[in-house]
């Protein structure tokens, strides 16, 4: 242990001792996410980057249905709430008509890879100049933990109570690998935010995905494999461990497509 002097609470709060503060691009509204859930961290990272790049006035965000449906309560930017699965179409409409704005979607795995698969693939295939943040927690969080297209084999959910049987329920969809094959995507990466080191890496990836949009080269796509401790019925710590042991082997972290 380093020999640090013990500070009182009052001293810690003094402006000169401030080492970190929340970006003003996060509002004061208390996050509605379950304690331990990754959504809050991901929100913060995106807002920090937009703040650091001084892009608040240039940004229009789209959050469809899922646990993050209320993202507009927390993000201090202009936002549109979209129907379940349709965010890439909504973002297309925005970006085509407002080409100088930074336009992003923030979607869950049920949203992006089940009901909205068509919109996802076609927006990527058209090479829309948008940025997609894809939060993959392998489950439908908002509606109470039903099976998602990304649910792992044998994984138990409310609608696969005996475990996902791939013979009858299909296989976990690696949609990120799928869209990386399309010429319309420019940057495709998979990250996580469950450790401090991963948070730093994810932030770098988010920054690239935001800055690349200015190049007009197509979709930048950041998947974040995240936990749903409530839906998985685990403590936050257990869920992160389970994620490392089970999700990462199936959804390996790292860049999938980087600009040539």
């Amino acid at each position: 242990m380093l020999d640090t002097p013990t500070l009182t609470k009052e001293e810690i709060c003094k402006p000169e001792n401030l080492v970190y503060s929340r970006t003003h691009l996060m509002t004061d509204a208390p996050l509605s996410y379950c304690p331990g859930c990754g959504h809050g961290t991901i929100h913060r990272l995106i807002m920090e980057v937009i703040d650091e790049l001084n892009m608040q006035a240039d940004t229009i965000g789209v959050a469809p249905v899922g646990c993050s449906v209320l993202a507009y309560e927390f993000l201090n930017i202009d936002m549109q709430q979209a129907a379940h699965g349709r965010a890439p179409a909504v973002a297309t409409g925005i970006k085509r008509l407002m080409p100088n704005k930074f336009v992003f979607t923030y979607q869950g795995d049920g949203d992006l890879a089940a009901i909205g698969t068509s919109e996802t693939i076609h927006a990527c295939n058209r090479g829309e100049n948008i940025t997609i943040f894809f939060v993959n927690n392998g489950i439908y969080g908002m509606t109470g933990g039903q099976m998602a297209p990304t649910t792992l084999p044998k994984m138990k959910t409310a609608t696969s109570p005996f475990g996902r049987d791939v013979e009858t329920m299909g296989y976990p969809l690696k949609i990120t690998e799928l869209i990386a094959m399309l010429p319309g995507t420019y940057f495709v990466t998979r990250q996580s935010v469950h450790t401090a080191a991963n948070v730093r890496k994810a932030k770098k990836a988010i920054q690239k995905a935001i800055e690349y949009q200015k190049l007009n080269k197509g979709v930048s796509f950041v998947e974040i494999v995240s936990n749903c401790n409530s839906g998985w019925k685990m403590t936050p710590v257990e869920s992160n461990k389970w994620m490392e042991e089970n999700m990462f082997p199936y959804y390996p972290l790292g860049d999938i497509k980087v600009p040539q």
Binding site: D78, M79, A89, S118
Partner: protein
């Protein structure tokens, strides 16, 4: 010196497409379907990006089209999609979301016969879907019913004006006959598209990027607080009421001395106009009431005429949908019959006149 008029021979669908360009449209998103594919084809040929800066995009589905419209409309842009019946069915969730967020837009339904894949022939069987709110929730759209190629053109501008005046969705309920037929159209001068600065000034609710001088703009229909959700819904209802009070449009022909009345819109009104002339040639005093707005419906005019005439025949290319509104307007004051052809058949004027005579005149003689 007035300039020479710009008059052209055009298909209904093309006239609508030209109408939206000239009305300063910013974006069109659509998916091909007969009998309205000419809209997207015409716009594609027109090189709108060069002409006015208007964006035209073929979407992967009608679902995508309507949500692209949503995104653009939420930025305060003048946006349009068009389709025909099955495609409009697919759009209903998106239209409902636009109602819940009060986003202005222009929608064209060149109606074909259903249910199901039905037929590509003209029909008027989507009246209920358009007028009574086809998607989920309590909402109404303004519904305009063109009866000529000129109106296919004119209603583009009118539709945009109404959409932005009330922050409401405007649907032009046309049909395969009006969409496909050719007539002469008188065109207006190009209205310039709004600049982004003008949009920010005119539509302060639009998501144009949060600047320091205002709070962030949020486009959402969600409110989980039942009290707030009710307040929001009451506000919508008040708007629909204002629309009903101010925007009723209809055309009445020979109604002053009419003893019998046709009520018909769109293609059917064209048929009835001819049937009315045939009847008048025989000495039967027939009038025609043509609703131009289907929502708001001209209930008061129907009520007035119901007290004057001896019988009303509604003519629709459906099993009888608008007749319910005519009955509401007449409120039992007069005998009302429906005549309709289904499956894409357009009734002939003589056929319609015959039905009127059979129902009201012959029955009167033998009564």
């Amino acid at each position: 010196m007035s300039k020479t008029k710009d008059i052209r021979l055009m298909k209904g669908n093309e006239a609508f497409a030209e109408g939206i360009i000239r009305a300063g449209c910013d974006g069109y998103f659509g998916y091909p379907i007969t009998p309205q594919s000419e809209v997207l084809e015409y716009l594609s040929v027109q090189k709108t990006k060069e002409r006015t800066g208007m964006i035209v995009l073929q979407a992967e589905s009608e679902i995508a089209s309507i949500h692209m419209v949503y995104g653009g409309a939420a930025c305060g842009k003048r946006v349009v999609t068009s389709s025909s019946s099955p495609g409009i069915s697919l759009m209903q969730e998106g239209i409902s979301f636009m109602a819940g967020t009060e986003l202005p837009c222009l929608l064209m339904n060149v109606v074909r016969g259903g249910p199901g894949l039905g037929t590509i022939q003209p029909s008027q069987s989507d009246y209920f879907q358009a007028v009574k709110g086809g998607g989920h929730g309590d909402y109404k759209m303004i519904v305009l019913a063109p009866a000529s190629v000129q109106e296919m053109y004119d209603f583009a501008k009118l539709g945009f004006d109404l959409a932005f005046k009330y922050r409401i969705q405007v649907m032009i309920l046309s049909d395969g006959a009006i969409g496909q037929m050719m007539e002469k159209v008188e065109l207006d001068e190009q209205i310039p598209r709004l600049t982004d600065a003008e949009i920010i000034k005119k539509y302060p609710w639009a998501t144009t990027g949060k600047t320091a001088d205002r709070e962030r703009n949020i486009i959402t229909s969600l409110d989980l607080n039942p009290v707030k959700q009710e307040i929001m819904n009451r506000k919508f209802q008040e708007k629909f009421k204002r629309v009903e009070e101010n925007e009723v449009r209809f055309e009445s022909i020979h109604c002053d001395d009419a003893e019998y009345l046709f009520v018909a819109y769109g293609s059917s009104a064209r048929v009835c106009e001819k049937a009315m002339q045939l009847g008048r040639d025989k000495g039967i005093k027939i009038g025609l009431l043509r609703p131009i707005t289907l929502f708001p419906f001209p209930y008061e005019e129907v009520a007035r005429l119901a007290k004057q005439v001896e019988g009303i025949l509604t003519v629709e290319m459906s099993a009888g949908q608008m007749i319910e509104d005519v009955r509401l307007g007449a409120n039992g004051a007069v005998h009302i019959e429906h005549y309709g052809r289904l499956g894409g058949i357009i009734p002939a004027p003589s056929e319609v006149l015959n039905v009127l005579e059979e129902n009201f005149i012959k029955s009167k003689v033998y009564a």
